[in-house]
């Protein structure tokens, strides 16, 4: 009984850590899709880039861990601005098919470039000493880094939610998600808003990718393999919503960890079936707004 309880707590803990990472990565996707109506399937590329930036700056350039996290956020965010201005913005009014094809093309390019530079193996993650080891809480030992992930993500998420609720930028985002034409009519510069929000969402993806490198391995096929997870978080949570994907990400993180621990012979099968079930019951997601 004791052992069962211990493993439940452990599974829940690791599930939450995974869920937090999934959310930090996917929240940008949710907001972008709600804001621009653009299905960016290549969102995983930003997470991958963040992961490579983090691991490379630590192992190749000896950058300290906190700075590497900042770099992952900033470089990916800035890079995404270039992509958005040059490419994405031309396709905001394109058909669904064209958007899907375009983003798949980006994935292919990114995967090829990653393979070329880094080869096909996973990137090793070098954690600073102060984040290694165990952390004691309520008489149990938890891996310190995972605790860090949860705390750091929670703080980031808190900052994000605060910005959306309280800042002017946040108000504009909420208005534009609700009714883009009306937002333009009242003078909101939607182009700049899109670019800024896209950069923030991509930067967060990069941050999440780097932060979660230990949990979701950094390798060239990352954007393909994890696409389903990011989309599930957004679809189940509800496009354009902030809270919805948070709940969805935690549910998926815990469900995935539980299944892989207790039912390893089924792999991720139960998650997909559950996703199908939820989306059929609520096509707009658990917290989605009607289209």
């Amino acid at each position: 009984m004791e052992a069962f309880l211990a493993s439940t707590v452990s599974v829940a803990f690791h599930g939450v850590a995974l869920g937090m990472i999934l959310y930090v990565i996917s929240v940008g996707l949710s907001v972008t899709m709600g804001l621009m109506g653009f299905a960016n399937l290549a969102h995983g590329v930003f997470a991958l880039a963040g992961g490579y930036i983090l691991t490379t700056s630590i192992s190749r350039f000896g950058v300290p861990f906190p700075l590497a996290l900042v770099l992952a956020f900033v470089i990916v965010g800035a890079g995404s601005v270039v992509l958005e201005r040059l490419l994405y913005s031309r396709l905001y009014n394109a058909s669904d098919l064209e958007q899907v094809l375009f983003t798949i093309g980006l994935i292919f390019i990114a995967v090829a470039v990653a393979r070329f530079i880094y080869g096909t193996l996973q990137q090793p993650v070098y954690l600073p000493d102060y984040l290694k080891g165990q952390f004691s809480l309520l008489g149990r030992d938890f891996p310190a880094y995972r605790v860090f992930i949860i705390v750091f993500s929670a703080v980031t998420v808190g900052l994000l939610w605060f910005s959306i609720e309280r800042t002017r930028w946040g108000a504009m985002v909420r208005a534009a998600v609700d009714n883009r034409a009306m937002a333009q009519a009242v003078g909101i510069n939607t182009r700049r808003l899109f670019t800024l929000t896209f950069a923030l969402g991509s930067g967060l993806a990069g941050l999440g990718g780097g932060l979660g490198a230990e949990i979701i391995a950094i390798q060239p096929t990352y954007p393909f393999e994890n696409l389903v997870y990011f989309l599930v978080v957004v679809a189940v949570g509800g496009l354009g919503s902030l809270r919805g994907p948070f709940v969805a990400a935690l549910l998926i993180g815990i469900a995935d960890t539980s299944c892989k621990y207790w039912l390893p012979q089924y792999g991720a099968f139960p998650i997909y079936v559950a996703t199908i079930g939820i989306l059929l019951w609520r096509p707009m997601g658990l917290f989605g707004r009607h289209a």
Partner: protein, 325 residues
């Protein structure tokens, strides 16, 4: 002039130029005997692309999960051959078709109640489910190693599958011919025109009393059946089936082939796989990283500048030539 085939004004009789691909394919049989296995692969992917074009190009359903039906057909044919001792290729093919149809109608009925992202998401989820099953049910599917030991008896008891791939090529040729004939009939039929209407303006189709949902389920099922047949053919020609038939990369590749040739144009599904697979055969082995980079770049460029694919470019040139005369 509409570039799309079909409609009430369109003459459905087969134009002479439409026989060209078949003439070319038959010539290739005699003239290029060393390339017959590549040839068979091209024929199979043309059938697969045709099935996808029915739903993407004609009905306007954007899906990334078509490989579910292709993969199911491939595995059904393989499992029957390797595990159940059913070696007659036509029986295997019918089973693959039936499996595709069954999965197509059940999944179609479920997912076609949704649209856009939710639908796309569901197609991905369904393929993921199949991929997990194929991965884990190693006794049946061979898991990550794939299923070998696929035995194929002679077609109709007469035509043995030889090591040169001659029988395989002609076998695929005939199946493709039948599949093409069927797809062409559908496109030129009132149903095909209604599909185009669905794609162009779903709202209006509701407003003229069309049973939109059931039409979509029907075309989806037909498409899934054809994809299942194509998958079965692949297993039969390779005498092997692996997990890659269900992967997202291959689903992405099929979309690339289709967009390359031209979506919603009957012959885009012919040109796309032809160009893609030949180019892949020549280039990918030398420079595998560059290959995917090239494909990705091409895809981005096509979407931004040449949305009609190769056939679209050809159309543009023809229009310009006509203007000059």
């Amino acid at each position: 002039m509409s570039a799309h085939a079909g409609g009430y004004s369109a003459d459905p009789r087969i134009r002479w130029i439409e026989w060209l691909p078949w003439v070319v394919a038959l010539c290739a049989f005699f003239v290029l005997p060393e390339y017959l296995s590549l040839g068979a692969r091209i024929l199979i992917y043309i059938l697969y692309a045709l099935s996808l074009d029915l739903i993407v190009g004609y009905a306007g359903i954007v899906t990334l999960g078509h490989s579910a039906y292709f993969g199911l057909g491939a595995y059904v044919a393989g499992i029957l051959a390797a595990k159940a001792g059913i070696t007659d290729p036509l029986v295997q093919l019918v089973a693959a078709a039936a499996a595709g149809a069954a999965l197509g109608i059940t999944t179609g009925a479920i997912i076609l109640r949704t649209k856009a992202l939710t639908l796309l998401m569901l197609t991905l989820a369904i393929t993921s489910v199949l991929l997990e099953i194929a991965n884990k049910a190693t006794d049946l599917t061979g898991g990550a190693d794939g299923l070998s030991g696929v035995v194929i008896a002679p077609v109709l008891g007469l035509f043995k599958f030889d090591i040169f791939g001659k029988t395989a090529y002609l076998y695929c040729f005939v199946v493709l011919l039948l599949g093409w004939w069927l797809v062409r009939k559908v496109i030129y039929s009132p149903f095909g025109t209604a599909l185009t209407g669905l794609r162009e303006n779903t709202l209006r189709m509701h407003a003229i009393g069309a049973p939109v949902y059931w039409r979509l389920v029907l075309v989806y099922t037909v498409s899934a059946t054809l994809a299942g047949i194509a998958g079965g053919l692949l297993t039969q020609t390779n005498q092997f089936v692996g997990l890659n038939v269900l992967s997202f990369e291959s689903a992405g590749e099929l979309l690339v082939m289709l967009i390359l040739g031209g979506v919603g144009r009957l012959y885009g599904a012919f040109i796309g796989p032809l160009v893609y697979l030949i180019a892949q055969d020549m280039l990918a082995k030398q420079f595998p990283e560059y290959w995917y980079f090239g494909i990705g770049t091409m895809l981005v460029l096509v979407v931004m500048f040449a949305r009609g694919g190769i056939l679209g470019i050809v159309d543009g040139i023809l229009v310009r030539l006509r203007r000059k005369t």
